[in-house]
């Protein structure tokens, strides 16, 4: 499974793990991973440990998640990104709106 989700006890935090290339092919799965959760989690973690690459449509998907999670008040952490993925996050300056850990 290229997109795996795990919800914390009590449902406050959702962790979404991405495997392989994070691009438009994962669009559907990524959206479905967070869209219909009741109650809505308070915080989100996107684990990029096994993500090999990230393209601009993936950045768009992260923006969709951010919008879903409350826009400027969203609590989203991007974790374990490899050097290539970090570079892309840095060029696009997504570090300014996402917590990159």
């Amino acid at each position: 499974m290229p997109v795996v989700t795990e919800i914390s006890q009590g449902g406050q935090k959702l962790t979404i793990s991405i495997k392989g290339r994070f691009d438009f092919a994962k669009h559907q799965e990524f959206r479905e991973s967070y869209e219909n959760l009741q109650p809505k989690p308070e915080s989100f973690e996107v684990n990029l440990k096994d993500a090999t690459y990230l393209d601009s449509s993936a950045l768009g998907m992260l923006l969709l998640l951010r919008d879903h999670a409350g826009g400027e008040n969203a609590e989203i952490t991007l974790t374990n990104a490899n050097a290539d993925v970090r570079k892309i996050l840095a060029i696009s300056n997504f570090e300014q709106i996402f917590d990159v850990a």
Binding site: S56, M61, D84, I91, N93, F94, I97
Partner: protein, 568 residues
């Protein structure tokens, strides 16, 4: 779609009358229409006239055998699949193989087994319908594709009218872009400001195809509209960001680098949101200063949180700014390795002829990937002597008959306004209502801009232009400017404009006053009017471009005049 129970028209080609009758009655009992032929030639003729959907063909027949007939029928059928099942008492594998080679799809050994015959007809019918569906879908896709290409042609033609209204053909710009870059989301725009500066934008929308192209239109309109009116990069960026934020879906945005190249001030102002590093190439030192992405792409942040801060770097004549799209560094080789920034820098390092750089990068990409790609955009803009650059004359749509000729107006811009408002576009629009001034709009704007920035930066903000003597100081100067502007509490810049008729023509007097400490007018005036220093160029420019420039009140008040003759 045909229903699975639909009856077929089946041609039976068999020279033995008894066998023919037997087979006909079996096939009819299974619910199909039957045509018969007694040899190959009759079979071909029957097929030509009645187009049966399936053929049962005896291999050995007089006049024309089954193999020859099968070939001719297949030829007549063209792309449509007409299954041919050979009826044969042959048993050697070579003969059976020959049936298939001649175009047969299957064979059935004599004597006939009714159950197997029915099953084979059914299987062949499935195959036949599958082929028909594939053909139908292929044609549909081809139609859609044709339709899409046509739509793209039309969209591109409209867009080209908008995008190429700029100055991409100016002598100091070289660029490389696929003709359909628009549908890769790449966008390249360039235009002169009224002061003769040049604005350049290289943008990259998320995604491909029409969605990526849609945002380009409003972006281009903002870029050209605001550049022509004299707005600076910050204001244009704010407007673009707000507009894209409003119209694009959340997951779409536009990475962009915006440049303002000033030939007179010999500097470049840069804003990079999410694009790969651009490079400022100093020809004298050979050094390439990266122009890093310091901002989020356009269309991500709300207008309240958007950051329009730019960097200003000094340039010398012939220095170049090189920008590229991510197509270059994201090019993958067969093993999914990225071309990357390091390989790009190796190409830079190996470059001897600056003009060959594009070709060398393309060659490096081809060598790396094994083939060329069509979604790479590159642009290089060089700084020319101000005199070598000739901005096109502005085109006005009114006749000038209602031109106002005798008026004056005064403004006072106070601290809170100075922080975030650029009054120059408004002042220029106002002055260009005067028909006689239009011919000198470039000089007018430049002088107005210099007077205003002198009043603001040296007057109100108390910045020392001596700081700009070298490249480090140059950067420091613009950092200080931002900080002091942020902290500004008091101060003002006053602009007085007075237009009066003189004979057949007229005269404009501009006075700009500021709340600063003033300067030693006599000392500054002793400098030569046209130096090549990075600092103090403003005063020289003002004296060259306007008439009777003078300073009073210890430099706190500047006055210039513009004259025009009678209209032709």
């Amino acid at each position: 779609m045909q229903s699975p129970l639909e009856s077929l028209t089946i041609l039976i080609a068999e020279d033995s009358a008894a066998d023919r009758m037997l087979l006909s009655s079996i096939v009819r009992r299974q619910g199909h229409e039957v045509l018969t032929a007694a040899n190959g030639a009759e079979a071909v003729e029957a097929f030509r006239q009645q187009r049966p959907q399936l053929v049962l063909m005896d291999a050995m027949m007089p006049v024309m055998d089954g193999f020859e007939a099968a070939q001719q029928i297949k030829e007549l059928a063209g792309e449509t699949l007409v299954p041919i099942i050979f009826l044969t008492s042959l048993t050697e594998s070579e003969a059976l193989a020959r049936c298939l080679e001649a175009g047969g799809d299957d064979f059935l050994a004599k004597p006939y087994n009714q159950v197997i015959l029915a099953a084979k007809i059914k299987a062949m019918d499935r195959l036949r319908r599958l082929q028909a569906t594939v053909l139908q879908q292929r044609d549909q896709i081809a139609r859609h594709h044709h339709y899409l290409l046509n739509e793209q042609r039309v969209a591109k033609a409209v867009f080209d009218k908008v995008a190429h209204s700029g100055c991409l053909s100016a002598p100091n710009i070289r660029y490389l872009q696929s003709p359909y870059a628009l549908f890769n989301g790449d966008l390249l725009l360039a235009a002169f400001t009224p002061a003769g500066d040049m604005h350049v934008l290289l943008g990259d929308f998320t995604g491909h195809g029409l969605p990526a192209a849609v945002g380009a239109m409003p972006l281009a309109e903002v870029f050209y509209g605001m550049t022509a009116k004299g707005y600076g990069l910050s204001e244009i960026l704010r407007e673009m960001n707000a507009k894209l934020k409003r119209i694009l879906p959340v997951d779409m945005f536009c990475c962009a680098t915006l440049l303002c190249l000033s030939f007179q001030r010999r500097s470049v102002e840069v804003w990079n949101g999410g694009m790969p590093d651009g490079y400022l190439h100093s020809i004298a030192s050979g050094e390439r200063t990266p122009l890093k992405a310091r901002h989020l792409p356009l269309g991500v942040l709300s207008p309240q949180t958007f950051d329009d801060r730019t960097d200003v770097l000094p340039m010398s004549v012939d220095d170049r700014v090189f920008l590229l799209s991510d197509g270059v560094i994201d090019t993958c080789d067969a093993n999914e390795q990225l071309f990357g920034v390091e390989r790009l820098q190796q190409v830079f390092a190996a470059n001897r002829q600056p003009d060959a750089l594009f070709a060398e990068i393309e060659q490096a990409l081809r060598d790396f990937r094994g083939e060329a790609r069509d979604d790479v955009s590159m642009v290089e803009v060089s700084l020319l002597e101000a005199a070598q650059v000739s901005p096109p004359a502005l085109v006005y749509s009114d006749s000038g008959q209602s031109s106002p000729l005798d008026w004056s107006v005064s403004f006072e811009f106070r601290a809170a306004t100075l922080k975030r408002f650029n009054p120059l576009p408004y002042l220029l629009q106002l002055l260009l209502e005067v028909h006689g001034l239009r011919a000198q709009s470039g000089a007018l704007y430049t002088v107005l801009a210099e007077l205003y920035s002198n009043a603001l930066e040296h007057g109100v903000l108390g910045l020392d232009s001596g700081l700009k003597r070298d490249a480090t100081g140059f950067t420091r100067y613009y950092q200080l400017r931002n900080t002091r502007l942020d902290e500004l509490r008091d101060g003002f810049v006053r602009v007085h404009l007075q237009v009066a008729p003189t004979g057949e023509g007229g005269c404009l007097t501009i006075r700009v006053e500021d709340s600063g400490k003033g300067f030693d007018v006599e000392r500054v005036m002793q400098r030569p009017a046209a130096g090549v220093r990075l600092s103090g160029r403003g005063v020289g420019l003002i004296r060259q471009l306007s008439r009777n420039a003078s300073w009073s009140d210890d430099g706190r008040s500047a006055r210039v005049e513009f004259f025009w003759e009678a209209q032709a």
